[in-house]
């Protein structure tokens, strides 16, 4: 039991450290290192999942079924990733007007035949009314056109996938003369299915842990005073206000086409709520470290814990909503973009704070506060550091 516990949390720590290191190495080598696609990286995740689940069962987590469900959901997400890694096909398809294409080249340079031929009929750049600001890119494609049959039409645009027998096509780029279009192609029905099941289970378990009596948040609330609860509510409202402000700022200027999706507001808003609550926890943490009276310090810890679960669940929800959006707009739900990696790092680091039952040190208020202050460095890295140091797909403003 002890060994399994040590193994579990060591593995979690090791994977988190590995992610941090990998994001730096990939930046330095210009993503040439290929860490994320390597067999040993996948093995590290697999070990973490297996050891983690074993530990969960050994601790008889089935007595807290929703907590167990949450862990199983995370394992399912990893299983989905493995299936995608092994059986998923990703590639690019370049279409020129008047030239039908019946196959595409995968990232591994394999030629894959498509069930039907595709022919680009039209490509168009759409603008905001009365401006030349690009709003969307739209390819109109004939599917299965023959000499005497026009086939069916498929329209693909940003955040709007084209589908054909398990193949998914995404608007990715276009030719400078506007007579050609580049589509990302993905064929991964099982991987996406398993992964989405994992997301669904995760969202469900998080929701239930937040609202069910006798579960996660309610349990924390039970041990808190009325004043603390009022404070928590007030801080929650402030966090949402800040999130709305941030989201409204995003919409204040024209957005690039890929961002024009209702996912944007939800993805960013929910993550900003998480970050704001975690920032409040830092303030509480600093206060908790500064003040002398142990009981006050403990009360601050209770307040901090009340905010921690909604914060972390918002962060997880934000990350995986982002993954669903990425699957809609870029054709893959996880791309190891530096921002994605560091959001995941943040989530994993804060996950330690939840495991006070297994990690008694984090039950001590001083240690807990110190941890919360240090953990916030990962939020700062994700929010600011990635854009400045690592770049990537999420560096829209810079």
């Amino acid at each position: 039991m002890k060994l399994l516990k040590t193994l579990s949390f060591t593995a979690l720590g090791a994977v988190t450290a590995l992610l941090m290191a990998a994001s730096m190495v990939e930046k330095l080598t210009g993503t040439a290192a290929g860490i994320y696609g390597s067999w040993w990286f996948a093995t590290a995740w697999a070990l973490l999942a297996v050891i983690g689940i074993c530990y969960c069962l050994r601790r008889k987590l089935q007595r807290r079924p929703f907590t167990l469900l949450l862990h199983l959901a995370l394992a399912t997400i990893l299983l989905g990733a493995l299936v995608t890694h092994i059986w998923g096909q990703q590639g690019m398809l370049h279409l020129r007007q008047g030239m039908p294409v019946g196959a595409f080249l995968t990232d591994e340079q394999e030629v894959v035949r498509l069930p039907e031929e595709l022919e680009l009929l039209d490509f168009e750049i759409l603008c905001d009314p009365g401006t030349t600001t690009h709003a969307d890119y739209r390819s109109t494609i004939a599917v299965g056109r023959t000499a005497d049959d026009d086939g069916r039409q498929m329209v693909i645009s940003m955040n709007n996938i084209g589908r054909m027998e398990g193949y998914r096509f995404y608007q990715s780029s276009y030719d400078s003369d506007l007579h050609g279009s580049v589509l990302a192609v993905s064929h991964d029905p099982w991987g996406i299915g398993i992964t989405y099941t994992g997301y669904g289970l995760l969202f469900l378990s998080m929701l239930l842990l937040l609202i069910l009596p006798g579960e996660g948040l309610r349990l924390t609330l039970r041990h808190s005073g009325r004043g603390q609860r009022r404070w928590a509510i007030a801080l929650g409202v402030v966090a949402m206000g800040i999130a709305l402000f941030v989201v409204s700022r995003i919409y204040a200027k024209p957005l690039q086409p890929v961002l024009r999706s209702s996912f944007l507001g939800i993805h960013v808003g929910i993550i900003v709520v998480a970050y704001t609550l975690l920032a409040v926890d830092v303030i509480l943490g600093i206060a908790g470290l500064c003040i002398r009276r142990e009981e006050r310090r403990e009360r601050l810890m209770t307040l901090s814990r009340m905010l921690l679960m909604p914060a972390l669940f918002c962060l997880a929800a934000g990350i995986f909503i982002g993954a669903i959006w990425a699957n809609v707009s870029w054709g893959r739900y996880w791309g190891w973009d530096p921002k994605e990696v560091w959001a995941l790092v943040t989530m994993l680091v804060y996950a330690f704070a939840f495991h006070g039952e297994s990690l008694p040190a984090l039950r001590r208020p001083r240690t807990y506060h110190a941890f919360m202050v240090l953990a916030f460095l990962t939020v700062l890295m994700t929010y600011f550091g990635v854009n400045i140091l690592l770049g990537g797909l999420h560096s829209y403003g810079s």
Partner: protein, 562 residues
């Protein structure tokens, strides 16, 4: 508490998202000053499209839809966009050759707009986007050389040989420094470049075959880019007498020191007429840089669909090979390689029963008869031609962008104050638009449902519209390095040009007749480099130079917004 969290958060976020994505708003506010609001309607109420996308130049006018001409417009659009196939192939859009300039209209009119500048190197007309026509002329008298066509054919259907070997033609861009050292008084700099095209003698088929005359050792080459097609129907609807009145006014003002082409001593002279297809009625000239054409139904498009592709139609049952009409025919008919392949070619083209003169015992004579024939089979049906012209006259002008923005209105004021608006005349009002056709084209195909109908009666019309093309429809001289043939250039309509890069994907704004200007500033500064004369735009360019940077930028923004 957390439940409340989610309950409040999600609807609020959803609301933010929904309000932010409301893109149905019209760009014109109902409260807008009507004198500004009308400037949005560049093509008037009947000729403006409000679609802003890379297809902004490809939209039908409201007049097309009101006239129930939408199907004809769509069919015409296909003829414009799709490639033609060789005249020996059979099938849809057949008839290309024996010689041709490009295989589709879109090749020269990317996105239906102005052509795109081409990079240094050999002259490539196979890819879409090169809208350059080669202008080959005698520098002694500015006349086109007789051994090529005015729009020189460079491709041929086998066994015929390309009249010009494009691989041997080179395009070079040269830097240019103007009299001000490419610098504004406030220190801001710009750069200028101009193209130089070289066609060596060995690139010309008939010269290789032995043809010589006074011009085969003394010719100059220039580039002329295609103009946008959108809005030409509206320019066609400007009454002839309004255009003459514009000449009268400019003549009376006496500001144009270089005088006028087609206008002498207070009289409009040298009108356009067509006595070959039509009855020789005179019309005011209005189309092409050279003002070589009058009304639209016999202007560049009506002609190009025949002479760029050499697709014959009922009123043009002959081919366009060179200006002389016989030089290419003579040399091709003597070419043993052409002779060797001609029998096979002509057998796929027609039959001995229909054209015994192409199947005689003397193959040289057969080829000559074919190339100079005046009664070739009709390749484009009257219906197709009518559809094409409905499409041509039915292309809308894109609405102006952000014209009510105070900066852009300020740019407009400065544009007027410094005199740009004198030649780039902002607006015109169309007349009754009784469509004129110097060709007198009539549907003679007895199979057609429109048999006997005049083409002019089938067109979309734009009566009494206030339009904003920003041209005076008059030619002026700018005196540029490597200027146009003759130096006369009709003031280009500026409407829609700000959308060129969006609609063609070009890296540059490609302004001026040979796309030499990469942006508006360069275009303006080319207006008064005064190479060999004083430009008609000298005064305005001088004033433009003296403007503050802010005012210059406002003028540029205005020009891009119209």
């Amino acid at each position: 508490m957390s439940k409340r969290y989610i309950n409040i958060l999600l609807p609020l976020l959803a609301l933010t998202v929904l309000t932010a994505c409301d893109d149905e708003t019209s760009p014109i506010s109902p409260d807008l000053d009507p004198t500004i609001a009308e400037q949005y309607y560049t093509g008037g109420q009947l000729g403006t499209s409000f679609i802003t996308s890379s297809k902004a130049f490809e939209q039908p006018t409201p007049a097309v839809e009101q006239g129930g001409l939408f199907l004809a417009f769509n069919r015409g659009e296909k003829l414009f966009e799709k490639p033609f196939t060789a005249n020996t192939m059979g099938g849809e859009r057949e008839g290309l050759g024996p010689l041709y300039v490009r295989s589709s209209c879109l090749h020269c009119h990317p996105g239906y707009g102005h052509g795109k500048s081409q990079p240094d190197g050999s002259f490539n007309t196979v890819d879409v986007g090169n809208g350059y026509l080669l202008v080959v002329y005698n520098p002694e008298n500015d006349a086109y050389v007789s051994w090529l066509a005015g729009m020189p054919q460079s491709h041929a259907v086998a066994p015929f040989k390309d009249p010009l070997d494009e691989q041997k033609i080179t395009l070079r861009w040269h830097e240019f420094t103007d009299q001000w050292g490419n610098r504004f008084p406030d220190g801001e700099t710009y750069s200028l470049r101009y193209p130089e095209v070289t066609i060596p003698r060995e690139a010309v088929y008939v010269i290789r075959q032995g043809y010589e005359d006074a011009t085969t050792t003394n010719y100059e080459v220039r580039l002329e880019s295609t103009l946008g097609i959108y809005g030409t129907g509206l320019l066609d609807a400007i009454p002839d007498d309004s255009i003459v009145a514009q000449y009268d006014r400019e003549y009376a003002d006496g500001l144009m020191t270089n005088g006028f082409n087609f206008y002498k001593d207070g009289q409009y002279v040298g009108p356009y007429s067509n006595a070959r297809q039509g009855d020789g009625t005179p019309y005011v000239r209005r189309f092409t840089y050279a003002l070589s054409r009058g009304p639209l139904l016999d202007a560049a498009g009506a002609n190009a669909i025949w002479n760029i592709t050499n697709v014959t139609r009922s009123d043009r049952r002959y081919h366009y090979l060179d200006l002389n009409g016989k030089i290419y025919a003579t040399y091709a008919s003597k070419d043993p390689e052409v002779q060797a392949g001609f029998g096979d070619y002509i057998g796929r083209y027609t039959t001995a029963a229909e054209h015994p003169e192409f199947f005689g015992p003397d193959v040289e004579q057969n080829i000559y008869n074919y190339l100079t024939s005046q009664d070739l089979p009709v390749e484009m049906s009257d219906d197709d031609y009518a559809d094409l012209m409905v499409w041509h006259r039915g292309l809308a002008v894109p609405a102006a962008r952000r014209i009510d923005d105070p900066r852009i209105q300020h740019g407009r004021e400065v544009f007027t104050q410094i005199g740009c608006a004198y030649c780039h005349r902002p607006s015109w009002t169309t007349g009754d638009d009784r469509v004129q056709d110097p060709n007198r084209f009539k549907v003679v195909d007895t199979q057609s449902k429109d048999y006997g109908r005049e083409l002019a009666t089938m067109m979309p019309r734009y009566p009494n519209q206030k339009i904003w093309p920003y041209t005076d429809m008059v030619q002026h001289k700018l005196f540029m390095k490597n200027d146009l043939r003759t130096g006369w250039c009709r003031t280009t309509a500026l409407w829609g040009r700000g959308l060129h890069q969006l609609c063609t994907g070009s890296p540059y704004a490609d302004r001026l007749h040979d796309c030499r200007a990469r942006n508006v500033i360069e275009a303006i500064m080319w207006h008064a480099t005064n190479q060999g004369g004083i430009s008609d735009a000298e005064y305005s360019v001088n004033r433009f130079r003296q403007l503050s940077k802010e005012d210059r930028d406002a003028v540029v923004e205005f020009i891009d917004a119209i």
